[in-house]
Symmetry: C2
Subunit: 344 residues, 2 copies
């Protein structure tokens, strides 16, 4: 590509119909520009793919003391505890949190990020790493301080997360150690969800290491909803060789599966073992309790807030914070049944 | 009060250190003013208690296509489904939603409202009616389109909600009809929470009508958290005359109480009846299922979005939308036990 074809500040000004000084002010001191102008300039910047040069300059002038978070969903408690801790830590620093939810939709996430940047957010928390290059480029272009949580990000990311592959692998190893060989998975939808995809990869790795076929793993991908887990469980148990253990991609699916198994007349874990992921409140409330991966959500939320505040202030910091997960045994995982005729 | 003592536009301009034209622009066309200036002017307006005269003018010029919601908490699913529907309806209209949470704190709610207005939100969704006069005055001063949900508001409010008193009264009547006389309540904290207070009032009204003492109702006020319900249940059951039925202020408390009762060796509903409020997912997942008040959260969220969009557009609308609740019987409410020695 010809370097001279790169869009320049002039081009942005022309497309936005403003002066180059206004474009410059908009990019460097957005709080001093009206939101109408800012949105016009941002649209032009994005349309042209213009990359401003912020250099190493501290971003102190951009402070609105408001931080944004775009989370995939507010519908269940997956992100609730971590986000609560994130907000508490921000509040202590006098920073407000505005939350938007994307519904696991890449376009909507991009729109929410634009809205937050357009409203002058000092920084942004995002969940996971799966997003189109266009969205990453937008964040880079505006040098928006951005922290990724719930995942281990790439080398260029600032992240406070955990290793979804390793955590899922660990719980799958536990399932295998209980003698299960016919293992299935009820997973979240993997499109634009690196956490869901990573958890499947972790289970496959454990199967492979145990000499079981990773390709043979039957995976039902469903939305994270209690009743969706029930539908998936019924499909899995209707197979000629139904699983003796179902590894669920999160606790919403795990609890949904336990309830569906009970309604199907199956005793958990005698007839069927079920595991979850997250360790949210309900995992301890179902009967039997859900054996699951414990994610220290509060610790992650607090650390993410610290990372983002440091990034906004231009403070030196750990760019990569990896939070350890652990396995909580409760009762939904037991030895594989000797007879395999159940559920048929 | 002397009318001449009322703060004028001049006073605001002087305190904010800007021209009167800027104050006027800030109040009438905030999108044309920088956020820095807007915040300075808003602070002065608030400090002085200045009331701008917006007259009947449509607010079309204020459009940022962003709407804010301040909800008490994101920690459990109480507001999740309604908010999800609210967001879906806004998205269809091309309007973004930014959510802030107040932690049931009046000061924080006021700060979040200021932040949202300061960031140029076209309108705001608030939960319930309990807030200081100062906050109401702020919203009035800026003529911020505002819809109240989850409650029946006052005559001056635009609301899309339900009658918490009547709904709680209905479920208490059901409990009484099952022969219960020793009834206790585990309630949310009533300070700045008109929903929690209204539900207690509803239970008292039902007791009174049945010839039982409304003052005799023992109420444990706790945070909406599963384990808090457990602590409250143990306190209630340790009384010399423990209740035979516990009416819970919401489903989080109801499910927490069912689990705590089970751990205490009590069978629900044979030994102890428990009811909830909201009908969120987990109410159907516990064993036994929680008998509760069904709130049509999705319908409320969709109707609230329509009301707020109409208000922003200056469209004629129903200012008061009351959503009907109903009772869902599941199994946690049964006849009062004949012996009253349990739990001692």
């Amino acid at each position: 590509m010809d370097v001279s074809a790169k869009p320049k500040l002039d081009d942005v000004a022309r497309v936005a119909g403003v002066s180059t000084a206004t474009v410059s002010r908009c990019l460097n001191e957005p709080a001093k520009v009206t939101s109408k102008t800012r949105e016009r300039v941002l649209s032009a910047v994005e349309a042209l793919g213009y990359t401003p040069n912020f250099g190493g300059r501290a971003l102190a002038s951009r402070k609105t003391h408001t931080v944004g978070a775009v989370i995939p969903t507010m519908e269940n408690a997956i992100f609730a505890r971590g986000l609560q801790a994130f907000q508490e830590a921000l509040a202590e620093a006098g920073v407000n949190l505005l939350v938007a939810s994307s519904g696991y939709d890449a376009e909507r996430e991009a729109a929410q990020i634009r809205a937050l940047v357009g409203r002058g957010a000092d920084g942004i928390l995002l969940i996971g790493t799966a997003r189109p290059e266009k969205t990453r480029a937008f964040l880079k272009r505006f040098a928006t301080p951005c922290v990724i949580a719930w995942s281990i990000g790439g080398p260029g990311d600032v992240y406070v997360g955990f290793d979804n592959v390793a955590a899922a692998r660990a719980i799958a190893e536990r399932v295998i150690a209980f003698g299960h060989r016919r293992i299935a998975m009820i997973s979240g939808i993997t499109a634009m969800n690196d956490r869901a995809a990573g958890r499947i990869a972790g289970v496959r790795a454990a199967l492979s290491e145990a000499g079981l076929s990773p390709e043979g793993l039957v995976v039902e991908e469903v939305r994270y909803a209690f009743d969706e887990a029930g539908v998936a469980l019924h499909r899995l148990m209707a197979a000629p060789e139904p699983p003796t253990a179902i590894i669920c991609g999160n606790d919403v699916l795990g609890v949904g599966a336990i309830v569906a198994a009970r309604r199907r007349g199956l005793t958990v874990p005698c007839d069927l073992s079920i595991t979850g992921f997250d360790d949210i409140d309900i995992a301890a409330l179902v009967e039997p309790g859900l054996t699951t991966v414990h994610v220290p959500h509060r610790r992650m939320g607090l650390a993410a807030a610290k990372a983002l505040l440091d990034l906004i202030e231009g403070q030196p910091q750990d760019r990569h914070v990896s939070i350890e997960t652990s396995i909580i045994e409760r009762g939904s995982l037991g030895p594989a049944p000797r007879s395999s005729s159940i559920g048929r």
